[in-house]
Symmetry: C6
Subunit: 264 residues, 6 copies
Amino acid sequence: MAAHDYQAIGSEVTLFEHAFSRRLPVMLTGPTGCGKTRLVEHMGARLGRPVVTISCHDDLTSADLVGRFVVLGGDVVWTDGPLTRAVKDGAICYLDEVVEARHDSLAVLHSLTDHRRTLYLDRSGEVVEAPDTFMLVCSYNPAYRSSLKDLKPSFRQRFVTLPMSYLPPDREAEVVVAESGVAAEVASRLVRCATTIRTAESVFHFEPPSTRTLVTAAQLIAAGTDEMAAAEASILAPLSTDGAVSDGLREVAAACLLPAGAPA
Amino acid sequence: MAAHDYQAIGSEVTLFEHAFSRRLPVMLTGPTGCGKTRLVEHMGARLGRPVVTISCHDDLTSADLVGRFVVLGGDVVWTDGPLTRAVKDGAICYLDEVVEARHDSLAVLHSLTDHRRTLYLDRSGEVVEAPDTFMLVCSYNPAYRSSLKDLKPSFRQRFVTLPMSYLPPDREAEVVVAESGVAAEVASRLVRCATTIRTAESVFHFEPPSTRTLVTAAQLIAAGTDEMAAAEASILAPLSTDGAVSDGLREVAAACLLPAGAPA
Amino acid sequence: MAAHDYQAIGSEVTLFEHAFSRRLPVMLTGPTGCGKTRLVEHMGARLGRPVVTISCHDDLTSADLVGRFVVLGGDVVWTDGPLTRAVKDGAICYLDEVVEARHDSLAVLHSLTDHRRTLYLDRSGEVVEAPDTFMLVCSYNPAYRSSLKDLKPSFRQRFVTLPMSYLPPDREAEVVVAESGVAAEVASRLVRCATTIRTAESVFHFEPPSTRTLVTAAQLIAAGTDEMAAAEASILAPLSTDGAVSDGLREVAAACLLPAGAPA
Amino acid sequence: MAAHDYQAIGSEVTLFEHAFSRRLPVMLTGPTGCGKTRLVEHMGARLGRPVVTISCHDDLTSADLVGRFVVLGGDVVWTDGPLTRAVKDGAICYLDEVVEARHDSLAVLHSLTDHRRTLYLDRSGEVVEAPDTFMLVCSYNPAYRSSLKDLKPSFRQRFVTLPMSYLPPDREAEVVVAESGVAAEVASRLVRCATTIRTAESVFHFEPPSTRTLVTAAQLIAAGTDEMAAAEASILAPLSTDGAVSDGLREVAAACLLPAGAPA
Amino acid sequence: MAAHDYQAIGSEVTLFEHAFSRRLPVMLTGPTGCGKTRLVEHMGARLGRPVVTISCHDDLTSADLVGRFVVLGGDVVWTDGPLTRAVKDGAICYLDEVVEARHDSLAVLHSLTDHRRTLYLDRSGEVVEAPDTFMLVCSYNPAYRSSLKDLKPSFRQRFVTLPMSYLPPDREAEVVVAESGVAAEVASRLVRCATTIRTAESVFHFEPPSTRTLVTAAQLIAAGTDEMAAAEASILAPLSTDGAVSDGLREVAAACLLPAGAPA
Amino acid sequence: MAAHDYQAIGSEVTLFEHAFSRRLPVMLTGPTGCGKTRLVEHMGARLGRPVVTISCHDDLTSADLVGRFVVLGGDVVWTDGPLTRAVKDGAICYLDEVVEARHDSLAVLHSLTDHRRTLYLDRSGEVVEAPDTFMLVCSYNPAYRSSLKDLKPSFRQRFVTLPMSYLPPDREAEVVVAESGVAAEVASRLVRCATTIRTAESVFHFEPPSTRTLVTAAQLIAAGTDEMAAAEASILAPLSTDGAVSDGLREVAAACLLPAGAPA
């Protein structure tokens, strides 16, 4: 789906705009696939700013963010990293799952998230002041928190926090239809299936199914897969590999969806 | 055996084709040697796309996937990694045992597995949009899951999941005959032996014997080894080094196979 | 806010000046956002010395502090790190959250914090004597202490320790007004909200809200966000992701702040 | 001793030949010093193929196996590693104690151990198909298995497994005579001593003495050391440093061997 | 204070001279700030030898001690490290807190601490015999010993061990006066405060205050800080961040020192 | 003391010669300072072979042993490591405390310790056959064994093991006299002190004092230190930092040695 298709859930668009207008960094929290990346792309389009996305992982160093010296034609040339490019371009820089990054990557963000709004490139000696249109956005999923690796409170207090959640069922069904081309009833059945599973989440202790998995299932259905098989492959199978849990999930799905061979 | 010899078990070929037609990434799950690699090679032939296979391991970095700068003749040249070559060629890229890879390798896949279908080469600055024929396929064996290293739910929800299992006995025996040239009765005895052991798997807690081990045993038999010795070397010995368990396995095999010196 | 806006809480400004006059290093301790960085910037302005700030993290090596050899145009050139530059310039060098740095980074500080006041650059062979105006300032937050990573007593005894805390309520409200432009009553309500939560800190076991979060909330309010929503996004959300705790915090906030839609 | 002196214990020579004729990889298992390396050297001579031996250890990377780019005279040249050279030469490549190697080293073997029989050099871009005479042989000692580091079942199922054990006593005594030149009675006494200790292995929980230690003891005897002193230095001392166990072992040896000063 | 101001506590100066005359290495042990570094500087002045001080830390490698090859102007040049320079100059080389160094750093000291008195530079191939005036001195604080990182007994047996402790009160007061210029009564009060706290050390389990902290407090007093505030910032605050313990320490200090505003 | 002063304890010199004559590697075991290094130096002089000593530590890599490519004047040149030089020179190569080395360092020794007697330099491609006079000698102290890091039984079985212990008292006293020049009675008293402590070793659980510490004490006495002070600094202090144990040790020493000021 294109970024302009973003469906606002609450006041997150307004709050995001207020933060942008006051040059405040934003932290998006919420479950997988509830639309955090979509919101950032939507706001980029709405505010007329390019979005630079960086998927964080535990080998991401500060040099991967800000840049490094590389040997080029026998000479040594500084090459900006994606964060530096975003600062210079006044872009929205989106650090996805920021909790995964190494601590030196987080430290380099400090001076961009307070009144200084400046990036210090210690190695090249350059000091880059962020233009007013630069905005830093991070996301993290509190459900993944562990005692070993969590964001420090002092880091989280540097951001305006926007908690995100799933779309309400009818709005989510509209997205599924728009993204896959299935009939509205098919989309409603898939959303009902997901909603039931999400409600059972605290019992089964798994990450609930995202809107993305519903769209994937709908795409398979549009390609000719029957509803139950599409739901199994896209919604149920990623949730659990425990046989008993899978059987329970399959019952939930069977109660919501058309069986194989049923006239759609 | 050649890739066109693939024997479909359920609807995995159809689902794979539906995913391909909708440009969705696929995750194959199932026990060792149940045919995951064969399915990918088969689908590559069927869809007319080359297959690039990458065996993942815990030292595999994102640079191993996407490429790196290398010094060549005093100058620095970017060299595409196998993932980048697969994207550019519109190939099927198969990441075998993806759970083994390092997290930076998984992060680099994110933008290829959602609506962006784009590979960002941060270090070279290149942005590669995947052609429609590019497809990402991963495999992992849920039986190896540990609390230390597992795929994150958010990652698994990015894929259409196809659970794989062993072939039914008669079909598996046909494969053994085709691959080794032994007589049908020999193949049937080997399959019966494997099936009995697989049923006992939950008791003995070992990884059940794959079709590959049956083919290996049959090849030794075709070379002149007697059935029991071939089964010991190829099917039983890799399963356990515990004396009591080995004795139990040998009894199972002896009940299914011809003894040494028996007229075949 | 500009550095000259610093609001002294106790005798920290005088003690800092005495330490400066006797060329003694200073260690600032206290909770997140109580003004440690502001004090350093204020003192730099007051003493007429530039401030070099270094955010410490667990990948910070001594080479990141003192400098390294880099290849430039085929030749190898020594490049001073920020600590060396600060020593040579007679600046105030501020190591923020020094407990995070690696041990080799701390060892390099030893000769700067005793009667030698000298930086030994073992790799370049240079010996840099600190001018009288050079001052080393470190900060750390004792609330983060763990058995795994703490400052050694011998290291802490090298510093004059200045414990910092939050501003008294009326002074903190003045800062909020000055930084955001909200009305005094709004600022007072935000401070009351923060003070109540800080008092409850030992019960809830979270890092209490900093002055920075109050300023952020006030900036959102100035941009048009209602008080409760601004407090949720800036003050409450970073504190906890536990539902019950969040509900408790929201009640506290609701008792202090105007509800959405209330005439400000 | 020369490789042609290998003494077959069971059918391992025949099974090895069958595996070679069907281009199947072989895994040798068994206790230290039971003749695994000797078997490989013997089979190399018998099959007319050179043997490339690689002692695995936990710093062995895939680059150590397949090769790497090295700077030579200012230019960058690819240099084949020992595995690549073995594949190109159609040699027998013997990975001793393969369980010690790092996982990236094992992953690189996958495509050589299935129907592909191909080595993919990702970094140089070369694809090397193994000639029919190439054979991969690995060894590992199941007694060293730990939960931390063991071969994965899927890896072990790629091989024909040949379990090895000690020679029968009379055959082992012949080897000792041939290797050291001692009289047959001396060799018999040393073998009797080793056999008694090996029987007690499960009681004492130590790695039993290998044939190599008997040959070493016999060589010392041939040089003039008395039997008990030679056995202590070569057979007993490496087994245990626990005083009580050592005393027990010494009694066993004293009951089998001539005392110091006895007429041989 | 200048190095010639060292105040001998026991026979450490004589023992140090005896060790120097017999070319024996010395290990200084004792609590933080009891004068180990001062003793080394004093002995350097007394014996007419330069002192090379190296602060050890857990990233200190043997190359940091002995030197390394560096690229200079396109060519590779060996650069001596501080240990090598000290050996060549016949200096006193002082390794402060040697227990912190990595094991390769300790291994390189072996041949300097026995009858060989020689430094082997494996990488450059150079062999440096120590002149008679070269002396190796190490220090470590047994109070920091942990099971994870301790000096091996075989390493400690290579040294003449000189246990150090605090100066007697009247001598310590003289040092405080000489270093800060405060009146004798002020120094006596500070020493009395420290002595009381040191006696309570085994109860409170903290590192006792060093002479250095008393000098720091006295310097603040000389700059105009009142006694209690100076003691809090320099003596008490580094000892503990536990509120109850801090209150106890403050009572001790209040019983020894003049209150704020008292006529000095 | 010079290497020719070695005092044989048992038959270790003869066994060493037998091993040398049969080209067998030797493993020396025993407590710290019992004379392992001295034996190797003695045997080097006796057999007319140079000795190359390598102190092992846990950062010692195989490249540190066999050599590496280094850039020299723009070109890349292979530089032999100390092990390679020892093999080429037919020297005795002594790996002190071999258990400390990394596993890749041990793997490189395999082909030198069996019938191959060959060093394979995988990176340079060179194969170095050891001349008959090359001998590999390793040492390790079984008292340091831990479950985390121990020599593998298969490695220990590659060596002729020579267990070493302290000299008998009268012989040890002769060494002390020869090394320090003290009177025979002084040496006897020091040896009696050490012997008493060694007997108590199993009670106190510390590494017993080596002959080296007695020589050190004697050297201090020769320089003018009194016996008790010399024993404290050289023999007692390295043993323990536990106050109660130290008091016990001091009583033992006082019962054996002359008090301070006593007429020697």
